[in-house]
């Protein structure tokens, strides 16, 4: 893993936001969403990004996607086209898909916008096959699908421009428990099948433990711990990581009184 080529170099990156004034003449308040963050994303790895609300993980993703610019530091992407090669799948497929568009148009939107060459009809069929949706889905609308299927549509769209990096921002959090495993299995299949580098953001630590090779733990805009997932879960070093791991309810840690 370490020998593989780096795709992203994130060096001392910070991003601050100005909060709205509480009073007319009050001085502007700044919050530092991402604070001096450095890491490398290697080709072919699955990187987990763990942290609670306000930890800065969403801002960090926006920075990777080029949707936000850092106030300080530098992000270098060593591929050819960041816009085409780095794609994202969000938590809630219902709000990420335009309800008035047919699935084929949704899936092909990035291809159309980026004016990528190729037989578009064949591409739709290929993508629907890849995410396990029937081909006749192409002519239907998002509301005709279940939550899990809508997430498959969102994944198909993310795959359309043939990305090298796929970022999943809480990709299974809004799904029924019985459907989550399907989508996690699909992401793993796609990772292997398309040689993807996966960045997985989740508040569900069991999902991160299961899916990732390496993990970054974020708290208050900083990376407080980084390392191979297996090691971090076995022997967390930072107090915050320990607190996080101790807080996870598990099937095996029962209430004292119960048998």
């Amino acid at each position: 893993m370490r020998q593989s080529e780096p795709l992203f170099h994130v060096e001392h990156v910070s991003r601050r936001y100005r909060l709205p004034r509480t009073r007319l003449l009050a001085p502007p308040r700044l919050i530092t969403a991402v604070d001096d963050v450095s890491f490398v994303l290697y080709r072919g790895e699955t990187l987990g990004l763990v942290g609670e609300s306000g930890s800065g993980k969403t801002t960090l993703i926006k920075l990777l996607l080029g949707l936000e610019r850092p106030d300080g530091g530098r992000i270098t992407y060593s591929g050819q086209s960041l816009t085409r090669e780095v794609q994202v799948v969000f938590q809630d497929p219902a709000s990420a898909l335009d309800p008035r568009m047919r699935v084929a148009d949704i899936v092909l939107e990035p291809v159309r916008v980026m004016r990528l060459p190729g037989d578009r009809r064949a591409r739709v069929e290929e993508l629907l096959d890849a995410v396990g949706l029937p081909r006749d889905s192409a002519h239907r609308y998002p509301h005709e699908f279940s939550g899990g299927q809508r997430q498959r549509i969102a994944i198909a769209r993310a795959l359309a421009p043939r990305p090298r990096v796929l970022i999943g921002d809480e990709p299974v959090s809004a799904l029924d428990v019985s459907v989550r495993a399907q989508i996690l299995n699909l992401l793993e299949d796609l990772r292997v099948g398309y040689d993807l580098t996966l960045v997985l953001v989740s508040h569900d630590l069991s999902v991160v433990r299961h899916m990732t090779d390496r993990v970054l733990v974020m708290s208050r805009g900083r990376i407080v711990e980084e390392g191979p997932t297996r090691e971090i879960f076995r022997t967390p070093w930072h107090d915050y990581t320990r607190l996080l791991l101790d807080s996870i309810p598990t099937l095996k840690n029962r209430r004292a009184a119960s048998t």
């Binding site: 996690l184 069991s206 879960f233 996080l244 099937l251 209430r255």
Partner: protein, 319 residues
């Protein structure tokens, strides 16, 4: 052991479709029972029906027996007398359950003036103590705050303080930690556990999260398609699941203590059907690996091994 609540053949119809289809269970006094279900399982409708809080136009049939009375037969006035006093509820999203234009202190004090006849000042003093008890920092100051000025975790604590104000017999908590961060979730679950203990209350915890139930409850009810498909102690249901649905749910959760071969979980095929789309007979049969013709008939909830399950082909038997 004495029972705190008994539910008999509860049914709720939504637009001509039965969404809760004959649910029966009892809650032992002082127990914590987890009601597990996914979207469309009918778990939230069941909770709302118990509390007489079903939305306009929906009504429940069957029986909800509490202290010798059938709650479904009570008038609105009689129910209002019990709710917030003997029966209390905590919701997933405190922002929608709390009144946005009313100060936190007045809201927490309200059940005490309504049900306990405390004067306003006494009730406010008691409310400050309650906020302190649920570990809201600076309780005196927070009394004067409005809900939007509190963090999500603090709002949930305030709602718990309100629910526990009159020391209820039964606390129904519907996904109380689903919207919270994992460290806050752990604190809130610990708080609920302590308060239920202190007040000798009975808790019904409604959630889709199996690990939350394992770590908080002693009894489990598993719902699917408007029916209870399995019930027993946490140990019975989670260590020796009998219903293929329960087994499948447990298999679909990524383990924290080991790697899974090829990173492939055993997934349940298909999706949870929409309301009215469940197959006749056993609601799980179109997703179940063991289903056959017999499953076209709904199996009764009957004891298999050490606890009841509703399946013709329970896990671990040749039946």
């Amino acid at each position: 052991m004495a029972e705190a609540l008994r539910v008999e053949d509860l049914r709720v119809r939504v637009g001509g479709v039965e969404a809760v289809r004959g649910v029966s269970f009892e809650l032992e006094a002082g127990s914590r029972t987890g009601l597990i279900g996914e979207s469309g399982s009918g778990k939230t409708l069941t909770a709302l029906a118990l509390m007489g809080l079903l939305p306009e136009g929906l009504s429940a049939t069957g029986g909800v027996l509490y202290a010798g009375r059938d709650l479904l037969a009570l008038s609105d006035d009689e129910l209002c007398e019990l709710r917030g006093d003997r029966l209390a509820m905590v919701f997933q999203e405190p922002m929608t359950a709390l009144n946005p234009v009313m100060r936190i202190g007045d809201q927490v004090a309200e059940p005490l003036t309504v049900h306990r006849g405390l004067r306003h000042r006494q009730a406010l003093a008691a409310a400050t103590e309650l906020l302190d008890r649920v570990r809201i920092p600076d309780p005196a100051e927070k009394m004067r705050s409005y809900p939007h000025q509190l963090s999500g975790g603090q709002r949930q604590r305030a709602m718990i303080a309100m629910a526990m104000a009159c020391s209820p017999d039964l606390l129904v908590a519907d996904e109380p930690t689903t919207a919270l961060d994992v460290t806050v979730q752990a604190q809130i679950l610990r708080l609920l556990d302590e308060l239920v203990d202190e007040h000798g209350a009975t808790m019904l915890l409604i959630t889709h999260d199996l690990p939350v139930v394992a770590s908080t409850c002693d009894r489990v009810l598993v719902m699917y398609g408007g029916r209870i498909v399995e019930t027993g102690s946490v140990g019975e249901v989670f260590d020796r699941p009998r219903h293929p649905y329960t087994q499948a749910l447990l298999d679909a959760i990524p383990p924290l203590d080991r790697e899974v071969e090829g990173r492939h979980l055993r997934a349940i095929p298909g999706a949870v059907p929409g309301l009215g789309q469940f197959p006749p007979g056993c609601p799980f049969r179109n997703r179940c690996p063991k289903a056959d013709q017999r499953c076209a008939e709904m199996p009764p909830l009957a004891v298999v091994g050490d606890h009841p399950t509703a399946c013709w082909h329970p896990v671990g038997s040749d039946r």
